[in-house]
């Protein structure tokens, strides 16, 4: 592994960030352990004793809610000889019993039973053999994060200006809460950062999504989904933000000249559900309909959460050149059912018509990156450009096709990779919890 700071230069990135196994292993420890990592949403474990599987990089977790409502992120790893103790994706359980030799744990992670206990050394104390767990957990508007880094900033500080933007996303629901439903799972053969590069990339839609743009023009005419990228996107006022700590924001709203609902491509059931909403809500129908389409912004929370449309997409690395994307769909809690039915169909629209082209291109990038002698990936667009502004809070704003947000997350990447943060696990009762918002 070369000195990391030679691999990231102001205008370019070395290919080894995408291809080197040693860098990948270090990322899984330092970034997916040392940063605040998104784990799940509170609505996915609403009741006492609910649990849901999650991950921090390659570490498997069981995120649990105890019978008092407290949250725990337990490593799915028996304290005896390492077998996973939970095989379900989600469910409800007070206890997790390991199938290998029967050690049994509470959903707070305490070891509550060791069968045939006779024979252990006299100083064997069950309190020392609970499930290891994530020492710091926190929530922000229902989103649950965890870190193994006791020296990491507070969750609120880590999110910084990205926090209020999470708030805006959640506040599109009349109740100020989202309810996370099920998820679409996709896998691509490429490094996880290809998805990350793309998340702040306002340069690609014109080309990568040309099939989608041409289709909409031919079939539906006018200004439909993504048509703001048809020509000269920077003339529309759309912009990207480098929010600091690797977080990125792309705002497509200035590119629209009509409501979200009018811009939305027609999805199955559009007419019947819109009619119902008009009948039920009369003059307020346009505001109700506006809750159905996506937010028209992309908010990326480093290192593993892409909030786009009405979805929370987790970027889940599997290997240096293999990545899972799990796209969880958020319903607007408190909105009429009609809105949420439309949200389900809308959440299938671009993901099934547009995203395959993104994933195809990620795989093509990984193929291109295989050539050792061609070493650099260019990310210079907008560097030193007069249109790049830095605000007092450090947020950098630039026209939407600039690559500033990518350079921003790579700064955060370098900082986490270079910091020799001490990562720790905790025992039951030794963890801390911050409710940031």
């Amino acid at each position: 592994m070369d000195a990391l700071d030679t691999l990231i230069q102001p205008h370019r990135v070395h290919r080894s960030l995408y291809t080197d196994d040693k860098i990948f292993v270090a990322e899984m420890e330092r970034i997916f352990g040392g940063a605040w990592v998104y784990l799940a949403h509170e609505s996915q474990l609403p009741n006492p004793n609910d649990f849901i599987a999650s991950r921090m990089g390659l570490r498997r977790l069981i995120l649990t809610r105890d019978d008092d409502g407290g949250l725990h992120a337990l490593f799915n790893r028996c304290a005896h000889r390492a077998s996973t103790v939970c095989q379900s994706e989600c469910g409800s359980a007070r206890r997790f019993q390991c199938s290998y030799h029967g050690w049994t744990y509470s959903n707070r992670g305490e070891l509550v039973n060791v069968p045939f206990a006779e024979g252990y050394p006299p100083d064997f104390d069950k309190a020392d053999h609970g499930l290891a767990q994530v020492p710091r957990l926190g929530t922000y508007r229902g989103l649950i994060f965890g870190t193994l880094n006791l020296d990491a900033p507070s969750l609120a500080d880590w999110l910084g200006p990205a926090g209020p933007l999470i708030g805006e996303f959640v506040d599109r629901s009349p109740s100020g809460r989202i309810e996370v439903r099920n998820c679409q799972r996709m896998i691509f053969r490429g490094n996880w950062k290809l998805a990350w590069d793309n998340a702040g990339d306002g340069l690609h839609p014109t080309f990568a999504h040309r099939s989608f743009l041409v289709l909409n023009e031919r079939q539906h005419g006018g200004a439909r989904s993504l048509s703001q990228f048809k020509a000269s996107p920077d003339d529309t006022g759309m912009y990207g933000l480098d929010l600091g700590n690797g977080h990125m924001f792309v705002d497509q709203r200035p590119g629209l000249n009509q409501s979200f609902w009018e811009t939305q491509r027609p999805v199955p059931g559009r007419e019947w559900y819109a009619d119902r909403i008009v009948q039920r809500f009369g003059d307020e129908a346009p505001d109700v309909l506006e809750m159905a389409p996506g937010s028209m912004v992309n908010l990326s929370i480093f290192p593993n959460l892409l909030i786009k449309g009405n979805t929370l997409e987790t970027v889940d690395p599997v290997a240096v050149a293999e990545t899972r994307l799990h796209t969880w769909v958020a319903a607007a809690a408190g909105a009429p059912d009609e809105v949420n039915v439309l949200r389900m169909r809308i959440a299938e629209d671009f993901p099934s018509l547009g995203n395959p082209d993104d994933l195809e291109i990620f795989e093509r990038c990984q193929e291109g990156l295989a050539i050792p002698e061609v070493e650099w990936v260019d990310m210079s667009k907008g560097l030193g450009h007069p249109a790049e502004e830095v605000a007092a809070d450090g947020v950098r704003r630039a026209p939407v096709t600039h690559e500033g947000p990518m350079r921003g997350y790579l700064r955060a990447w370098l900082e986490l990779m270079s910091a020799d943060a001490k990562l720790t696990t905790a025992r039951a009762g030794e963890t801390s919890f911050e409710k940031a918002a």
């Binding site: 799972r185 059912d337 389900m344």
Partner: protein
């Protein structure tokens, strides 16, 4: 091009779909042997149309009120759950139209497919429609890889014989809860 027809998907149609897709169905007993060859004629013809990428001819076999559904969770109600896709006729046309733009990168080069349709069973539904179930494996070859997509498929056929037509097609991928390889051809 003519403006696409409005969607006919409403709550009643959703309800019918949910009843049809109830997890692996109520036990209906063995299929009716007298319906089987007519159903096989349709399903084998459909498989050939799709393998040959004759998508417009394929679409012509669907009724105006059709639904083409690839659920993620077999038991889910699509009104409260997202699917891989749930298309009415208009979005099926969009899906085919996307491939016809010539800019669908995920189909450049295009997939070559070979689908095996087996274990066909059929039952009459009260209203003149026919329910058919089969097991399908679609082998997709693209860019040096051959990948199987295994599914249990449900069909509601509105017509059998020469003019066979489909009202509902449900593709229940056996690994729909797992990480699915992207696919942009028609399953």
């Amino acid at each position: 091009m003519d403006a696409p027809a409005a969607s006919v998907l409403d709550d009643r149609l959703y309800q019918r779909l949910v009843e049809l897709a109830a997890p692996d169905g109520a036990e209906r007993g063995p299929g009716r042997p007298d319906l089987r060859s007519g159903v096989e004629q349709a399903l084998h013809h459909e498989a050939r149309l799709l393998d040959e990428r004759l998508y417009r001819a394929w679409l012509d076999r669907f009724t105006q009120d059709c639904v083409y559904w690839i659920p993620l969770d077999p038991a889910g109600d699509p009104r409260t759950q997202v699917s891989y896709l749930l298309d009415d006729r208009r979005r099926m046309e969009d899906r085919i139209g996307l491939l016809e733009t010539g800019w669908a990168h995920a189909q450049e080069p295009p997939s070559r497919t070979c689908r095996i349709v087996s274990n066909v069973e059929a039952w009459p539904l009260g209203d003149g429609d026919t329910l058919a179930r089969c097991s399908t494996v679609v082998w997709e070859y693209r860019k040096d890889r051959l990948i199987p997509f295994a599914s249990h498929n449900d069909y509601v056929l509105a017509t059998l014989g020469e003019n066979w037509s489909v009202r509902f097609k449900i593709v229940r991928l056996v690994d729909s809860r797992s990480d699915v390889r992207k696919f942009s051809f028609v399953l």
